[in-house]
Amino acid sequence: MTGFLGVFLAIGFGYSQYAYITRVDADRFADDADPSALGTLSLTAQGLMETFAFLMFLGGIVLLLLLIGNAVFRMPRWLRVPVCWLAVLTVPIPFAVALLGWLSRELARQPWVVQGVLRVDDVTSDQSARTVLVSLVLLVGLMVTLAVLDWWVLGRLARAGTDRLALGAAPADVLRDDGASEDVLLRFGADGAGAGAVRVAGAVAGAGDGPDGAAQGVAR
């Protein structure tokens, strides 16, 4: 729902910028424009961005409608699997769309960093190319590694189902799984007071066998 509203706003704000872009880049949008390599790249990124954004918009409507009466879970398997994959793709695609839009504008306004005001040459730092390359490789490597790890963890969490999600729980449950001692558990309400009914059931099942149960909790 949030994503659907978000893509609606993003497309609206995106189109409202054309009034400005077509004015500052008038020659690029002229009919007899002879595009440079950068200009062609920029227009390609822009076209891809618009295509993906509209696909997200249309896909969002379909996914929302399929929530009515749990339709998505009643569909035959051959239809359900692609629809679920569409839902999975809605995680990375907004990032790709945002990057394409940024790339499109960045390429189109070269050599300016602020169109008509500030040139890229005037704002680059005096670091050596090697230093900048090292920092780029380190940071991109770190971020890509973390993104892959995130994706893997999300996949494992999704596959584990909604039972005992490792996404936050009452202190007594969490600490019992981590092997807390009795006095710590007592302090955080191990008697189940204030915990939800499901959590109490889980707590009772795990309680009573002391350190063994706790060890199993850790091993799980």
Binding site: S125, D126, Q127, T131, S135, L138, L139, L142, M143, L146, L149, D150, V153, R156, L157, A166, L167, G168, A169, A170, P171, A172, V174, L175, D177, D178, G179, A180, S181, V184, R187, F188, G189, A193, G194, A195, G217, V218, A219, R220
Partner: protein, 251 residues
């Protein structure tokens, strides 16, 4: 708002980040070991680590907001200082960003899986990244003094004081102590920031953006500040409560 008012705002924002995130850094740095009352070191069991992370968990995101806002002010109002700081302290800033990302990844990911190896590896990442983050922050402050020796000294001070601050905040949230130790370590955390602001003041307030632009941006800042402050009051209210059974343990 004039240059002086913007510089005060920058100092306040940085001080806010140092207080909140310093607690997270300190708790992260001391995650695996705690001091015994008799002075020895004792390894923390998994459940104790979980309690420590839960105690500082609510400070993670409200704290980072202050650094983002502070960097926005630095880039937007004092671009000359930002250029000085990042060109002289490029490797330090790179270390800060890298260790920041790793520290956050450690906190977010370590409890998402139950395996002992998974958690132990992330705990080590968290400890190392927290120490490096605190140290590179202190070094960046030292760069603002324009002095390599100051960078080294402030890095060491930051590493030591964040540990004390983290310990104090965790002990206070578990109501093992009153708020007095937190007040003391808070002063120790903020002192280098204020000192750096005073040392860098002449270069900071001279040569920022034009007075008209500062005033225009000031109107925006004054409109946004009440909302930010209200959210911060909520965050502090959450943090000042003792950690108890009503909390949901996420981290």
């Amino acid at each position: 708002m004039n240059a002086e008012a913007w510089a005060v705002l920058l100092t306040v924002l940085v001080a806010g980040w140092v207080l909140l995130d310093g607690a997270v850094q300190g708790a992260g740095a001391t995650l695996l070991h705690e001091r015994d009352p008799d002075g020895g070191e004792r390894r923390r069991e998994p459940a104790q680590r979980r309690v420590v992370l839960a105690a500082v968990g609510p400070m993670l995101l409200p704290g980072e907001v202050w650094l983002v806002a502070a960097f926005g002010v630095l880039v937007g109002v004092f671009p000359h200082s930002e250029a000085d700081l990042l060109s002289a302290g490029y490797p330090v800033a790179l270390t800060l960003v890298g260790s920041w990302a790793l520290r956050d990844a450690g906190i977010w990911l370590r409890s998402r899986r139950r395996g002992r190896v998974w958690r132990d590896v992330w705990d080590v990442v968290l400890v190392v990244a927290s120490i490096v983050l605190a140290g590179s922050w202190g070094a960046l402050l030292g760069v603002a003094w324009g002095n390599g020796l100051a960078a080294l000294a402030l890095a060491i001070v930051a590493v030591v004081v964040t540990r004390l601050h983290g310990d104090a905040v965790v002990a206070w949230r578990l109501r093992r102590t009153g708020p007095l130790p937190v007040a003391v370590t808070s002063v120790m955390m903020v002192a280098p920031v204020v000192g750096t602001a005073i040392a860098a003041w002449p270069r900071l307030v001279a040569g920022g953006i034009s007075a008209e632009t500062m005033a225009t941006l000031g109107a925006v800042a004054l409109a946004v500040l009440p909302v930010v402050l209200a959210l911060q009051v909520v965050a502090w209210w959450l943090v000042s409560r003792p950690l108890d059974r009503r909390d949901t343990l996420f981290f």
